[in-house]
Symmetry: C2
Subunit: 357 residues, 2 copies
DNA sequence: GTGAAAGCGCTAACAT
DNA sequence: ATGTTAGCGCTTTCAC
């Protein structure tokens, strides 16, 4: 056994010498071994200097850190993760493209992850069905966990993650029954929609309508439910209902149908801002309605566009930063302790502007 | 030496047995060894099945692939990268937060990278100075290359990348002299701004003004230069100039100053849409100007907001997808062949809408 | 075409 | 507190 080690290290030394002689093709990196040599310590000592809780004398630590600095050494995170079984990578999967809300969410999540010393691997699903493949892909990159925003996941892939003991946190979408995920965090859509209902009711609206986003998405369903419940509390009922697929064009079509009715609504709550802006445009230019005089409109998300002077749309602000923070915290928690599944609702803020009374 | 090997493999076998007996703490993964056993081949054979250009018999390949499928095996990308010296990770660093253009750019880059089988690691710099630290961080994650959008890099960090032989591609910002980067791709800002100038000139504008973004950013400088050159070609000169820091508030202040002058401009070209929208708002509500009758306004970026009916802003579209595609292609090219630095300008499209004649 | 053996750069259990 | 040693899961010469 001893001979073995000697032979091995001899072989190793020879290889190193060769490497240093010829200008190698492979990318050259400063390794912990080189730092160790310069500092006159072992590789373990170097390793310990870069491992938070490791026991190392202050004196040697300084010596090693100096050497490392001098050589421009940084530990190779890939090599490290091979035996710690933790890559430091966190997957972020977002399905809904083109929606400004999700663009902001990506940014917020990325910031939150990187601030905790991890690296966000961001995958964007172009079609709804693509999520599964992306999640598999992420798994092979050994992500420590994933944050999935507003996407459909198959049972198969959740099982895959379960057996890999890799947590999945859902964002802006609750876990459906039977779906085994580590947790979910989303806006309190029900309460927020109820605030809109209350605003409509207390400012004299009598025929409120709702424009849904995508049918069967939890966000749209919750906003609908909260709106109806809120109206009910004020003795009102939904006068009309349509669907706009969360897009401007969809919202435009829905608004046309809604406003073209004999008993047209006098207030429209759209499940997001894009559709609400479309409703405002249709109401003004195609029906010549004064807003908020003849029609109140409210949206959801508080996008940049909604704040513009020409619209000044009443809407709901989701506190994306908070949501991102909580989601990443939940992920971290599930990484360390054994962690019971949790669901978090983040309260929203009503942004009352000029499209309501 | 032989004894050694035997001892080692014996030890290994024992360890495996132990692992299988006790429910291990570490995350369990299907390894190539398990697939190899099931398929009755060696680990090398399994490896070759997942390595594109490897020589392997079709018959064994099928057998291995079957076994892999049965066990749900996926090669561990981390382990692979340890000896291929390629992680498959591509860094994306974006400095400008809150700017809708960069949000779209992140998405486009992420899509482009993931479609080529790599994984985008997205870092967002909150402050301008943070870029350096993020780039260092990325390097320790062994990224194969980085795409940097609109950020300042220190010389030190570019040297670091150079010695690590990791390519840096700049996006939407040219490399300044002395800066050693692998390449850059950005919009043809000069030509685009000249198109706006021509539009103004040929529709009877006589006193054109320019609102810069951030001073000293190449995008703003190029747009200014192209605009002035374009005007010059039509015998016009810049009537006024201001700065708006690429933000709505900045654009608002600039517009107020510009329109408050005795000889107010009759056309304003803003270096981005946010400032242009602010200019439209100020012109309409604070100065009661008719657009485009009394004032023409043009922006840059073709953001979602610019297309809204209430603004219908004339602007320039940057073809973000194309830029992202070219940038990633350039990165791939520099990864394979020895590659000479390159700079690419992507042509823009004029989007003529209702804020110009 | 296939297997054996030697690492990629690092960490961690163990011994000192 | 530090060094020695044995891998993490994979790829890759090198024999056969």
């Amino acid at each position: 056994m001893h001979t073995c080690a000697t032979l091995a290290s001899l072989h190793y030394a020879v290889k190193l010498a060769i490497d240093e002689m010829m200008d190698e093709e492979r990318r050259r990196w400063i390794t912990s071994l080189e730092v160790a040599r310069l500092a006159g310590v072992s590789r373990s000592a170097v390793s310990r200097c870069f491992t938070p809780g490791a026991s190392i004398a202050e004196r040697t630590k300084q010596r090693v850190l100096n050497a490392a600095d001098q050589l421009g050494y940084r530990p190779n995170a890939i090599a490290r993760s091979l035996n710690t079984q933790r890559s430091g990578l966190v997957g972020v999967v977002v399905a809904d493209v083109g929606n400004p809300f999700y663009a902001r969410l990506i940014e917020a999540l990325a910031i939150e992850i990187q601030e905790r010393g991890r690296a966000p691997v961001v995958f964007v699903a172009k079609e709804a069905g693509a999520t599964d493949a992306l999640l598999r892909e992420l798994l092979s990159f050994q992500v420590d966990g994933v944050l999935v925003a507003s996407a459909t996941l198959s049972l198969r892939v959740t099982q895959l993650y379960r057996s890999a003991e890799t947590p999945i946190i859902l964002l802006d979408r609750m876990a459906s029954d039977g779906e085994v995920v580590t947790g979910d965090v989303s806006a309190d859509n029900v309460a927020a929609a109820a605030m809109i209902a209350e605003l409509f009711a207390t400012t004299g609206c009598l025929r409120p309508a709702f424009v849904a986003g995508l049918e069967n998405t939890s966000t749209s369903l919750e906003r609908a439910a909260g709106f109806v419940a809120g109206l009910d509390r004020h003795g009102l009922k939904l006068a009309a209902r349509d669907v706009g697929a969360y897009t401007y064009l969809g919202g435009q079509a829905a608004a046309r149908r809604l406003l073209g009715k004999r008993d047209r609504p006098d207030a429209i709550f759209c499940a997001n801002d894009e559709m609400a802006l479309a409703a405002v445009d249709v109401a003004r230019s195609e029906f010549g309605l004064r807003i908020p005089g003849e029609l109140c409109v409210a949206g959801f998300d508080n996008t940049v566009s909604s704040a513009l002077a020409a619209y000044s749309l009443t809407t709901v602000d989701q506190d994306i930063e908070r949501m991102a923070g909580e989601a990443v915290s939940m992920l971290e928690a599930s990484l360390s302790t054994s962690f019971a599944a949790e669901r978090l609702r983040i309260p929203c803020r009503l942004i009352r502007r000029a499209t309501t009374r």
